[in-house]
């Protein structure tokens, strides 16, 4: 069916996502082998009617995207070299609509109007034209675009922020259990970024999915997340899982709060240490390259 992983009660699984000592080594067994992530383990509970928001932070090349793409089941990160990636209790076998993904570069289908972009997933499922367009219009409005004016536009007529709204609507219209976002706002200016953060918070309350959000911005990670994952330098290991208060105010306002800033500085200190200290500051010893 549409959601191959939305358990039918056969498995009483309370973890929506589980990484069991997952290691990904490219070119395994060759001299140019490169380990992106190493022995990463964590669990994310399936909170009913809520879903958890996980922000992932780490130095460049620490395998943040690798974690997302392993969850999405995309090559060449999928499958892991060792360990298991479980979604709703089952190993990930490939990509699917139950795990929606939003990329940093705006991947709107250039040959489709906004309406047809948003309706793409439903079209692939064989939903009738009138039904999928009705739903697509709903979602276009929900992500803050003008249904009348923008629905008929082509992506080349849109700004970066608008395109990312289209990408978000296109993903959320399918009601994925898990949403994977790979620096989705990385290319936006600060003002747009605040707006998109606010939008994401309100949408997330609506869809109640588990979100994995990779970002370079500590503020963004702390603001949006329930938990912040901090990865070590390459090869990436999961160093910290820091619980942070959920967003309860608009982004621009909350991010000025001294308590919020305190949290940001704490995490930034950790990251700074990672960037400057010699390798292995947090790496578990004993990993061998074969």
């Amino acid at each position: 069916m549409d959601f191959p992983f939305s358990g039918t009660g056969v498995m009483t699984q309370s973890n929506i996502v589980e990484f069991r000592s997952v290691t990904k080594t490219y070119n395994f067994g060759r001299p140019d082998a490169f380990t992106a992530i190493q022995q990463v383990s964590f669990t994310v509970e399936d909170l009913r009617d809520h879903g958890e928001f996980i922000s992932i932070l780490g130095p460049s090349g620490s395998g943040k995207s690798t974690i997302l793409r392993l969850l999405a089941g995309l090559d060449p990160q999928h499958p892991p070299t060792s360990g298991t990636v479980l979604v709703a209790g089952r190993p990930v076998t490939g990509p699917g609509a139950d795990r929606g993904m939003v990329f940093q570069d705006y991947t709107s289908f250039d040959h489709r109007t906004v309406l047809d972009n948003v309706a793409f997933g439903l079209e692939c499922r064989g939903v009738s034209k009138s039904e999928r367009y009705a739903k697509a219009r709903e979602w276009i409005a929900r992500v803050g675009l003008d249904v009348q004016a923008d629905a008929v536009k082509y992506p080349h007529e849109l700004s970066g922020g608008m395109r990312q709204r289209v990408a978000i609507a296109r993903t959320l219209i399918l009601h994925p259990r898990i949403i994977l976002m790979d620096e989705p706002f990385g290319a936006l200016d600060p003002h747009n970024r605040y707006q998109m953060q606010d939008l994401l918070v309100s949408l997330w309350r609506h869809v109640q999915a588990t979100v994995f959000f990779v970002t370079h911005s500590v503020e963004e990670a702390v603001y949006l997340g329930d938990r912040v994952f901090v990865l070590s330098r390459s090869p990436g290991t999961l160093l910290h899982q820091i619980a942070v208060p959920p967003p309860d105010r608009p982004a621009a306002e909350m991010q000025r709060d001294p308590a919020f800033q305190q949290k940001v500085f704490e995490i930034r200190d950790i990251l700074e240490q990672l960037e400057t200290s010699p390798r292995g500051s947090g790496n578990p010893a004993g990993f061998e390259r074969s």
Binding site: P59, P95, A97, C124
Partner: protein
């Protein structure tokens, strides 16, 4: 705020209070004034600066006038004193005087327009055949590398066949009839169409495929809904170039023909040679590029209409599109209907 002052690990670009951030003072005599002076001293015209419309037209006209002047100068004077003899290059006057003969109703098979049509027909047939084979196969090979590897040797040979050798080959295989001409165009084009279609599909970013996958699209759906539509404009670009080439090549095989009345521009060239009529040659050399340009513009207009999502604004620059629109406006009562074309 310079990069050095940015806390590491934060690439957010958020405006932040950074008390130490003062712009470094510009040292005096640091070359700023030198630079200004230099740009005034440069004797070359401004690099890549767009020029006004009238200058564009003037430059083009100047080129034509110079070429015509050279032609006139080389063929002026009495028959024996000319730089180039009549048999080498007829003068402008002689060429213009001969023109009506190519519209003469008495000999329709010698008409310029009739023979252009015959040649075009052959090119269209052979080219369409090459499209029917090359595009589906190329798209499939662009999607599945196994097929691409299997086709690679064929493409390598097909792209590198010397055209002259190919004329001999199709002559041996198919004789001198219509089949020979159509197959010549087919063989000359199909490998190029194939390889261009393959690279067009491969050029489509993997991100689009990944996005479609995470939206639940099947592989067939990705081919039909994502890869093919996104590759089409690039395929069309190469088709325009190839069609122009094919139209130029057709004459090579039309020259080889036994018997009369097969028609085509190559046939007309044969007549020119047999009857020592160099005017025909000159006229063909001058008309064919114009016809080829018109066809290219027509195809470009079609392309703009087909891929509106890509050429939204560029479409306005299409000469043929604007021209045909203004023609339509003359006959159509409703100008908005024309505008939506």
């Amino acid at each position: 705020m310079t990069n050095a002052e940015k806390p590491p690990g934060d690439l957010s670009g958020f405006p932040q209070a950074s008390p130490g951030a003062v712009d470094p003072p510009v040292p005096e005599g640091s070359g700023v004034s030198e630079l200004v002076e230099q740009s005034g001293r440069d004797w070359l015209p401004e690099l890549r600066r767009p020029i006004p419309r009238w200058l564009t037209a003037l430059a083009g006209i100047a080129c034509v006038v110079i070429c015509l002047g050279l032609w006139w100068w080389a063929t002026a004077g009495a028959a024996e004193e000319r730089l180039l003899l009549y048999s080498q290059l007829p003068s402008i006057r002689e060429t213009i005087d001969y023109l009506p003969n190519l519209w003469d109703a008495a000999a329709p098979e010698r008409h310029l327009w009739y023979n252009t049509k015959v040649s075009l027909g052959r090119v269209l047939l052979g080219f369409s055949l090459a499209l029917c084979v090359g595009i589906p196969l190329g798209i499939a090979a662009g999607c599945f590398p196994v097929l691409q590897s299997a086709l690679a040797p064929l493409i390598l040979f097909g792209r590198n066949i010397p055209v002259a050798a190919l004329t001999a080959l199709v002559f041996a295989l198919f004789g001198t009839g219509e089949l020979q001409k159509v197959m010549f165009i087919f063989i000359a084009c199909v490998a190029f169409i194939l390889s261009d279609a393959i690279s067009a599909v491969q050029e489509v970013g993997q991100r689009y495929v990944e996005t479609a996958l995470t939206l639940g699209a099947s592989r067939l759906q990705i081919i039909v809904k994502v890869l093919v539509p996104l590759a089409m404009p690039m395929i069309f670009d190469s088709l325009r170039v190839l069609f122009g080439l094919a139209f130029g090549y057709i004459m090579l095989v039309e020259i080889i023909q036994e018997g009369q009345g097969a028609g085509g521009l190559g046939y007309l060239l044969n007549i020119a040679r047999r009857r020592s009529r160099p005017e025909i040659m000159v006229i063909i050399v001058l008309t064919i590029p114009v016809v080829a340009w018109l066809i290219d513009q027509l195809l470009y207009a079609v392309q703009c209409l087909l891929f509106r999502w890509k050429y939204g604004r560029e479409a306005e620059a299409s000469v043929v599109l604007r021209f045909s629109r203004s023609i339509l406006r003359l006959f159509w009562k409703n100008p908005d209907a024309v505008k939506s074309l």
